[in-house]
């Protein structure tokens, strides 16, 4: 009890420190309230569909909140420790019956409480504006219904498999071997006696050919078809009236009016064998996501759905469904409020990790150095997807493996980003939340905190490290 009261004393002090730094508080309130208000105002005064407007509002405001609070967490968590050390207030604190570990625990608890308050208040305002827009923006019952179906909902997305697609592994391997032999013949000075270069080129070729062959089976030539097979759809659990087929198309060559016509045959069993319900969508703009409602009766009891796509000859173009969610089935799997809470919780988990990182760096380095370091980590974390793909071009297996290992230590904010899901009405899965909690906070955050604790425990506090 006394132990907790000591830790809580440090936490209380940290919260007071934040509140008494009026500039910081005013800055945060102004920024957070202003961008939320400005987005809402801007959305209200712009042309467009209500669902798109609110999606944009949710996307921008939640993303900015996450970024703002992360930066605030980094700066403040570093400052609160490095200032204590630099201004020597720590002399009077750690000469009391309080261990260094408990001092750090108190700081972390304070950051956790502070972040919770700031996040809940900010996202509460966002939620309020979102509901305000929900009741003010729709111009018709249709738009209102669309909002309920597309935005204020939590839909589960299911990726299909292509039944026509064989195992491409051996084909890819053969193509890579042929290409490598050709390259070694044509550029012997580069590849002969240089296993690193050979390895790098083999890796990249494998990736390229895999994409190429995969795309081949996501492509419908003129008057051609693709057969998609979805499994695990459970729309009946949530009394769905329909399942949404969400897709994006890229035509080659580009049609003059950027529009194509699509024909579908759907059913609980393979339409090629058993037939199905035929649908035709007229003139849809390309390179944009479209949503096609399918009656829930077309889904089997086992959650299977077959979709046969036909590219009509009138399009005079080959249609490609890109690999990044170019085709998926959506069904309602939960409510918007639960989704919103999971989104806020994941952002909060990001902030907890940021607190661990900031405190560990603040306990080790001076303020400017620590800030620089965490910003590098943060940017890498935000761009983790890009960095991962960029790394595939890194020359050499050793370098790539090493870099991959190092990057595993870094947080992957983009991997656990719930905003692109909630703004499209997609469910933010519990799996993402638990994975973020376990992998990002408990494991990575724990390791970072352990590092900070060990450094802090053994450092000489009376020596200011510049």
């Amino acid at each position: 009890m006394i132990l907790m009261s000591r830790i809580w004393a440090i936490s209380r002090n940290l919260i007071k420190e934040f509140l008494r730094r009026r500039a910081l508080v005013i800055f945060y309130i102004l920024i957070s309230s202003s961008y939320t208000f400005l987005f809402a105002w801007w959305i209200h005064n712009n042309e467009g569909q209500a669902d798109e407007k609110i999606q944009t509002f949710l996307s921008y405001s939640l993303s900015l909140t996450a970024v703002m609070l992360s930066l605030l967490t980094f700066f403040f968590s570093i400052a609160t420790i490095s200032r204590d050390i630099k201004r020597k207030e720590i002399f009077t604190v750690l000469t009391k019956p309080l261990s260094r570990g408990k001092y750090l625990a108190g700081k972390f608890l304070g950051m956790a409480v502070l972040n919770l308050v700031l996040l809940v208040s900010t996202t509460g305002v966002i939620l309020g504006f979102a509901y305000l827009l929900k009741y003010t923006e729709p111009q018709s019952d249709y738009e209102r219904a669309k909002l309920d179906e597309l935005v204020f909902v939590a839909r589960q997305g299911v990726q299909p498999t292509n039944l026509d697609m064989p195992d491409i592994k051996s084909e890819v391997e053969k193509k890579v071997n042929d290409k490598m032999a050709e390259l070694i013949r044509s550029d012997p000075q580069i590849y002969q006696g240089n296993p690193q270069a050979v390895d790098a080129m083999r890796f990249n070729l494998t990736k390229d050919y895999t994409n190429e062959l995969t795309m081949r089976y996501r492509t419908a030539p003129t008057d051609g078809t693709i057969l998609w097979h979805f499994t695990g759809i459970k729309p009946k659990d949530h009394a769905n009236k329909s399942v949404i087929l969400r897709y994006k198309q890229e035509p080659y060559p580009q049609p003059p009016d950027d529009h194509v016509v699509n024909e579908w045959m759907i059913g609980p069993r393979n339409p090629l064998d058993f037939g199905g319900k035929g649908l035709r969508t007229d003139k849809q703009i390309v390179r944009t996501f479209h949503e096609l409602p399918i009656p829930v009766s077309e889904v089997s009891e086992e959650g299977e759905l077959y979709v046969l796509y036909h590219n009509p000859a009138i399009n005079r173009a080959t249609i490609v469904f890109p690999t990044d969610n170019g085709m998926q089935a959506l069904y309602v799997a939960g409510g918007f409020m639960g989704n919103f809470i999971r989104t806020v919780t994941i952002i909060y988990l990001h902030l907890l990790f940021s607190s661990c990182l900031g405190l560990a760096m603040g306990a080790w380095l001076s303020f400017p150095v620590a800030v620089l370091l965490v910003l590098v980590v943060y940017v890498l974390g935000l761009c983790s997807t890009f960095v991962d793909s960029a790394l595939t071009w890194a020359a050499g297996e050793t370098l790539r493996t090493t870099m991959n290992f190092i990057l595993k230590i870094f947080p992957k904010y983009s991997l656990y980003d719930p905003v692109p899901k909630i703004d499209k009405g997609l469910i933010v899965p519990y799996g993402m939340l638990l994975s973020c909690l376990g992998y990002m906070v408990l494991i990575k955050g724990g390791l970072v905190s352990l590092f900070g604790y060990v450094v802090f425990k053994f450092r000489e506090l009376a020596r200011v490290i510049a």
Binding site: N13, K16, K88, I90, F91, T92, K96, P97, A462
Partner: protein, 425 residues
């Protein structure tokens, strides 16, 4: 009270601190082979010029710096042991407190770190604020305090846990004379109440006034160590302080001394009032007149929660109050005496023992043949240290001769010629 091994509160042997640069190269030897032994209830002064290693020593004892060589025990444990911190109060060389907290919040924060209950915290906070004279400004953020006020609140935080060991690094730095006097009185009182105090300062007068033992450092090494009364005693001169003497009395005393010590050069002068005493008197008068101030006021006594010697709580409080007030009234009476002339001869050893007019009067009165001894009760009323090393026989011998001489001449009991002030021979 912590059970201290070997009955030492602080013990060091060969304590050495070497500061190195980033590359591990030796840069500064801040403390070298320092051996210290501080006993319970001692007021120990660590003296030295700037950069002599005083603060570094303290920081090593508190675990804020690593010990390069040697070892240290504080309250029987290794430095940095969190458990012993419960019994330690520490005032750093500058007041490192959170500027965004006010005085009450500051004390509350440190009280929480000691795990004190809400009720106990409130009681101690009130008591300490009253003690350091910051009650009126207790809601003001510490960042807006003057240096002296920050020092006071720093001292209060060091006492919030009623420590057994008080480590004070330059406690009077930045304080006005009243604050300085109060802190010195407080240290004396804490020592009397059984606290061990490690005082680190380069202000020699402060250390001399309050310390039992001192250790002088220079260049990180111990130069000398011992009891203040032994180190500072001078065996080459005697000093007599008396009210202003008649010229013939003075001549007689001079004659006697010249007769007994023909080769000795006598120095007779009228002492001046100390600036500290004058300042204290003026500020005390202003305080008594309740003039407004936005700063600290004269604190009152000592925090009543601070560990007491059994059964002396009331007396101790009264004594400390009297110390502050008594000294002021003493100054006042001295100043007043300028106009009314001396009331008798006063003899005072070279120390700050307050003057007792009744005793001194009796020394010069014809009916007296010997100084009135100071009884035990009176000793308690004046707790500052007496310099027992002063040889009183010379003074008393002189006075006996003087009184005998006066009797022989059947001198008048009234002294017609008086001058303002005192003579100091």
């Amino acid at each position: 009270m912590v059970d201290v091994k070997k009955n030492l509160v602080i013990e060091t042997a060969g304590l050495t601190k070497i500061f190195r640069d980033f590359w591990g190269h030796q840069r500064v030897i801040a403390v070298e082979d320092l051996d210290l032994a501080i006993h319970p209830r001692e007021v120990f002064g660590l003296l030295g010029p700037n950069g002599s290693g005083k603060s570094t020593t303290i920081k090593m004892l508190l675990g804020l710096l690593h010990i390069t060589r040697g070892w240290a025990r504080i309250l029987g444990e290794l430095p940095g042991d969190v458990r012993i911190n419960t019994h330690i109060g520490y005032l750093p060389e500058e007041t490192y407190l959170y500027p965004f907290l006010n005085a009450r919040e500051t004390l509350d924060f440190y009280g929480r770190l000691f795990g004190l209950s809400r009720h106990e915290r409130q009681r101690r906070i009130e008591s300490l604020l009253e003690m350091v004279g910051l009650t009126a400004v207790s809601r003001r953020q510490i960042g807006q305090y003057s240096k002296g006020m920050m020092r006071r609140i720093g001292l209060a935080q060091a006492l919030i846990n009623d420590p057994d060991l008080l480590i004070l690094d330059e406690p009077t730095s930045g304080l006005d004379p009243i604050g300085t006097r109060q802190i010195k009185d407080l240290i004396c009182e804490l020592g009397r109440r059984g606290k061990t105090v490690l005082l680190c300062s380069h202000l020699l007068a402060d250390v001399e006034d309050v310390c039992d033992q001192i250790c002088i450092l220079y260049g990180g090494k111990k130069q000398t160590e011992g009891a203040v009364r032994e180190i500072l005693v001078s065996n080459e001169a005697s000093e007599i302080v008396s009210p202003l003497l008649k010229s013939e009395t003075l001549t007689k005393i001079e004659d006697i001394i010249r007769h007994d010590y023909p080769d000795y050069q006598l120095d007779v002068h009228t002492p001046r009032e100390r600036l500290e005493d004058l300042f204290l008197r003026i500020v005390s008068q202003a305080h008594a007149a309740e003039l407004e101030t936005s700063g600290a006021v004269i604190g009152s006594g000592i925090g009543d929660f601070l560990t007491d010697i059994s059964g002396e709580t009331d007396t101790s409080r009264r004594v400390l109050d009297q110390l502050v007030k008594g000294r002021t009234s003493q100054v006042e009476s001295t100043a007043a005496g300028r106009g009314s002339g001396p009331s008798g001869v006063q003899l005072t050893p070279i120390s700050e023992t307050p003057v007792r007019p009744d005793v001194l009067d009796s020394l010069t009165a014809p009916s007296s043949s010997a100084p009135i001894p100071v009884d035990a009760e009176d000793e308690r009323e004046y707790p500052l240290k007496k310099d027992e090393s002063v040889d009183r026989s010379v003074i008393e011998g002189l006075l006996h001769k003087h009184i005998d001489s006066e009797n022989e001449k059947d001198a008048s009991k009234n002294h017609p010629d008086t001058h303002n002030g005192h003579n100091k021979t």
